[in-house]
Symmetry: C2
């Protein structure tokens, strides 16, 4: 029997507010077995950018990253948010290690080619060093990944955290039974954004297309779902979108199903 591995991407307000992050980390620390945490931190980066007089631009939920914005993202994601999480997990008895894609060459990416949109210093994942992650997991460590990658030639790159989580899930499938959980402040994908009871239990690719067309899913939820379906097609067993309560209470939320 293969070992299980839980990969959780945490983002949205869960990461940005001290109290909700603390509460999430408590839930996360109780998850047994191998686990990897991937985090965002976009709002904090936006606030710091504004304080520094930089303009934040996004297209389809993806940030445009000029050189100064890359510095802000590296500081916030790899520095403040990552190390706050690591210190928090250490206090809860999890042997966390905070990493970017540059560390141990974990995630190699290529700068996105300039097409209709110039995303700047944004990286598309090319290669995951799953052996190095495996070795860390085998020592009992809990990798905590910030959404910064590198190109192998010294350039750091900003990379969507949902995509990193999905790509990791696919790469780790080789050795583990992987479940991938996208955790944010809502209980799942909602039919009506302001009604937590309107949660959709299961989404198929067909329903996803329809929800997109109807404008019910939009912004950052679109790449999250696209990436989730892509991961399932490449071997990831379970993909769920939920909130911290959904994790601690037996993995409720919106489950992706291929058919």
């Amino acid at each position: 029997m293969r070992d299980h591995l839980t990969i959780i991407k945490v983002g949205g307000n869960v990461v940005e507010e001290e109290a909700s992050l603390k509460s999430f980390l408590k839930d996360f620390s109780r998850i047994a077995g191998n686990k990897i945490l991937v985090h965002g931190g976009g709002k904090t980066a936006t606030i710091l950018s504004e304080k520094l007089g930089l303009e934040s631009k996004k297209v389809d939920g993806r940030r445009i990253t000029d050189a100064e914005t890359l510095k802000v993202c590296t500081m916030v994601y790899a520095g403040l948010v990552n190390k706050t999480i690591v210190a928090g997990l250490q206090a809860l008895g999890n042997n966390a290690i905070g990493l970017t894609g540059a560390d141990l060459d974990l995630i190699r990416a290529v700068k996105r080619p300039v097409g209709e949109v110039d995303y700047g210093f944004v990286g598309d994942v090319k290669q995951i060093n799953y052996q190095a992650l495996n070795e860390l997991l085998n020592t009992g460590a809990v990798p905590v990944l910030a959404p910064i990658t590198h190109d192998g030639h010294g350039q750091l790159l900003n990379t969507n955290a949902d995509t990193i989580a999905s790509e990791l899930a696919v790469a780790m499938c080789f050795d583990y039974d992987v479940r991938l959980i996208f955790c944010f402040e809502k209980s799942g994908v909602l039919m009506n954004e302001s009604d937590e009871h309107s949660k959709i239990s299961e989404i198929t690719p067909e329903l996803f297309e329809q929800l997109k067309a109807d404008g019910i899913v939009s912004g950052g939820m679109i790449p999250k779902l696209s990436d989730g379906f892509a991961a399932m097609r490449r071997g990831v067993g379970v993909v769920v979108i939920t909130n911290p309560a959904g994790i601690s209470e037996g993995l409720r939320g919106t489950r992706l199903v291929l058919e």
Copy 2:
């Protein structure tokens, strides 16, 4: 025969300027065998603090760290500077891994008690997880340490990078023959700060006291030398203060000697 380990603390302008950092990393990447890099980044933190309207305060070369300043230090040291170095070393074929004291519980510290001066969120090193560092070194990884530690209860702490390098050197003595190199922009300790030819080749504790009394060494150089002598008394074989050229050219610079 025991393995050798080179611990280099790099700081000052070497870290702060892109060209000098790049040149230093090239020299560092060529050092054979086990090595650990500890870096500063104080000037970049000061500049960011100023941009954010925070005041930078120092006493005897040590920063006073309030909650907002700790965030800035965590962002700059653990984020921007650390990951820039890691990506640079990866491009040079060194399998760098960037870490703080919180990661893998590498460096546990205690918040400095409030005495005559309240240093704020500053940590004094209590315990080094040399086993975890050993395991990383055994895989061929090159640890790159940012001067941020934690208290084991979730609190990150700002810690002097010179002290971290010295404490690491002492802890690693158990398993390795350690040489500790403090690298900055000057060729060593200078009798006359504006004359690179006035380098002192060797400093004893007695000469150190005299140089302090005469005002020839001051500011951040005082804890650097104190820590260096303390490390030698606790078993570190070689302690040298030098610049990048001094490292690549057979370890020239100012050597500490106990008598």
